[in-house]
Amino acid sequence: MQGSSSQKRKRLDLVPSTGSLTDPERVLYNVIRSKKDMGIWTRDMKRETNLPDNVVNKALKLLQAKKLIKEVVNIQNKGRKHYMAAEFEPSKEITGGDWYSEGNLDVDFINLVKDLCLKHIMRQKVATLDGILEWSKKSGVFAVEFTTQQIEEILRALVLDDEIVEVKSTGFGDFASVPVGRVCYRCTSKGGSKGEPKAGAMASIPCGVCPRISSCTPDGIISPRTCAYYQKWLDF
């Protein structure tokens, strides 16, 4: 029950147009609108309104034509048809959150943001969450404004990528500008080439990445003597 003031105003504006609706249309519209930014699945509508299928389908078409309702994609269940009153914007539960666009995870956008944040940290050597948030707002690199939570999510993903590490400032060297004990981020020092963590001993040989290792035996059909991966690896 906490719709924003703009939504309330909109709703008032829309009320007159519902006057021209038939009974089933009005019943259906009220049910849909009562679900606000969560929307409702067609099956649930039918159950709640007790209207026959053909009536509901026809009413839905007409309501859509009158631009009173819209169809939305529900991230939880993309196969199900979901409808929502036109004045609402789908909630995070429906869209999947800030990082989703049209029901899909916006991977390109996320990677772009990650990349830019990473480059910023690289330049700064050491950066705090607040510092990165501030930079994201002031630098003008981004068209949208991020929340603290969003930047936090990006940083957490970069940590999981092993691109950056979370450390506590020691107050020495690169940390000189950060108060001792503050949590900050810095780029991972890697032995390997850029972006790739140092390959472990196991990951640098064919067996380490072999999907068939469990079927490999010294004298079996798959064996180190006949192994195709080895053949390729040792092809000088």
Binding site: N104, D161, M202, S204, P224
Partner: protein, 523 residues
């Protein structure tokens, strides 16, 4: 825990070094646990002579230890009068054979060429008396300059001094008694070890551990050069090793039958220290690495076992003194040292201002890194991120939650997680909630101890494969190796070059993989 491929790889090494018969005996001991000579003959279906000779080879090379289990007083058992010597295969020592070049490298860094020569002999022959070492050194000298006879007076002193040096730094020790009487383990349920007893890493002491602990000579004798008779003589007048050394030079050594062998424990400790220091260097910085190095060097002899969970506590003053002794630590201030100690995860101690570093944590991080790099290569970047999330969380997480935190499409996440679970990289639990609507959730977790055992087994498998492939490549081009060097031209030269590259790649990969084996098994 002994893994299946650990045994296979060990048997492969023994086959390579000592042939099929010895390997057969060794395999039975590894698979069945300690056995008597009669039992061994029964299982292997070899003749008594064959088994005996195989055992002699294995004992000589420190791969098998004989022992007599002290009989409990169960009435007047007539069988009790018969001494039953049992033989125990030492899996770790067998695997150490792969590491001999690394051990020699350590000695060549720490000590002089004579010490390297001496250790080389000990590794080649398993165990030697001082006289045998002298003979070996004299012979080598005799070979190079035929003028001198076998009795080369210089060699005796040189060998004695080298041995003394090696004993001082604990790279060599006295062999345990040939077949000591060992009391029965306190926990009698060693046989009952089932799946349940594996809980929380508290595996009850195995017979192997028990025997190994029981046979180690007393600290004072273990690294002493004194002959056996002297040990008895000087029993009640404790002397420093320096004095001992001075004294023993006077006594003729020829009759002494004391056997010495390489002390693998110390070599593994050195390898572990190196790994700890290098990991700290990449994760933190050179200063932290220098400090950890200084601490480990100073407390080396105080370490009770290889797998020390925490470094031996030292006060800040002591640490600082040790740090400035090192070349890289000379310019550090005490504040810098203190701040690095905090970085190393040491909370400042109020009581006695002593610091102890969590070494187990560093090893754990190194293991994580190795496993994660396998996950990345085998399953891709999304899987890598999800695996790291679970590994860091160290608790059960739900599929959608994992997808959200790692920026993975919710519909893709279950597939990837399932693949990891199927290959035993993840643990999964199903949760059914019966509220208004019944819903099923999948929860995932990285179970580190179980995963590490699994990865270790895969690594042994991979090591065996590398070694088998090397043998196969050599066998394939066997005739090439017999061609005189000056005849290798044209097409032959191309093949020769390829073989050399293959050889180098396989050998170096095996050595690198062996570092990982040590990381998961010995550290």
């Amino acid at each position: 825990m002994v893994t299946q491929y650990g045994i296979k790889f060990a048997v492969h090494l023994i086959t390579n070094h000592f042939g099929n018969l010895v390997a057969k005996v060794c395999e039975d001991l590894l698979r069945r646990g300690p056995l008597t000579l009669d039992q061994l003959i029964g299982f292997t279906e070899l003749t008594k002579e064959q088994v005996k000779n195989s055992l002699l080879v294995l004992v000589q090379h420190n791969c098998v230890q004989a022992f007599i289990l002290e009989k409990e007083d169960v009435g007047d058992d007539r069988e009790g009068s018969k001494v039953n010597t049992q033989y125990l295969a030492l899996l770790d020592n067998i695997l150490h054979r792969l590491r001999f070049p690394k051990f020699l490298e350590i000695v060549s860094q720490d000590l002089d060429e004579e010490c390297v020569e001496l250790l080389e002999g000990l590794l080649r022959y398993g165990r030697l008396t001082l006289k045998q070492m002298v003979d070996r050194a004299s012979q080598r000298k005799g070979n190079t300059s035929m003028m001198h006879e076998l009795q080369n007076p210089v060699a005796i002193d040189v060998v004695r001094e080298s041995l003394h040096k090696l004993l001082m730094v604990r790279y060599v020790e006295r062999c345990p008694a040939p077949s000591p009487v060992v009391s029965s383990p306190v926990e009698k349920d060693t046989k009952k070890r089932g799946a349940k007893s594996k809980v929380a890493n508290q595996v009850p002491e195995t017979i192997e551990q028990h025997v190994l602990e029981a046979i180690v000579p007393v600290e004072g004798i273990r690294f002493s050069l004194m002959s056996n008779t002297e040990v008895i003589k000087s029993d009640d007048s404790p002397m420093t090793s320096e004095e001992n050394f001075g004294k023993t030079t006077v006594i003729p050594i020829q009759e002494d039958s004391t056997l010495f062998h390489a002390n693998f424990e110390e070599f593994i400790r050195r390898c572990r220290h190196k790994v700890l220091i290098e990991n700290v260097r990449t994760r933190l910085d050179d200063e932290a690495a220098t400090i950890l190095g200084a601490i480990l060097e100073a407390t080396r002899t105080a370490e009770k076992k290889v797998k020390m969970e925490n470094s031996v506590p030292l006060t800040l003053d002591t640490i600082f003194t040790e740090v400035v002794k090192t070349e890289t630590g000379r310019t550090m201030t005490i504040d810098r040292v203190r701040s690095s100690l905090v970085q190393l995860g040491c909370p400042q101690r109020m009581l006695d201002d002593s610091y102890s570093i969590d070494l187990k944590k560093i090893i754990e991080l190194a293991r994580n890194e190795e496993v994660e790099s396998i996950v990345l290569k085998r399953y891709g970047r999304d899987a890598y991120r999800m695996f790291r999330l679970l590994s860091k969380a160290d608790r059960l997480l739900e599929t959608d939650k994992i997808a959200e935190s790692t920026f993975v499409e919710k519909r893709d996440a279950p597939k990837t997680l399932y693949k990891l679970w199927k290959d035993e990289y993840l643990h999964m639990e199903k949760l059914v909630v019966t509220a208004a609507r019944q819903s099923k959730f999948l929860l995932w977790k990285v179970n580190k101890p179980i995963l590490w055992d699994h990865v270790l087994d895969e690594m042994y498998h991979a090591a065996l494969n590398l070694s088998l492939r090397l043998a196969y490549e050599q066998e394939k081009d066997a005739e090439l190796l017999n061609v005189p060097k000056d005849k290798i031209v044209g097409q032959l030269q191309k093949r020769y070059k390829r073989l050399r590259n293959v050889w180098l790649l396989l050998e170096s990969s095996l050595m690198k993989l062996d570092d990982a084996l040590m990381l998961f098994h010995d550290f």
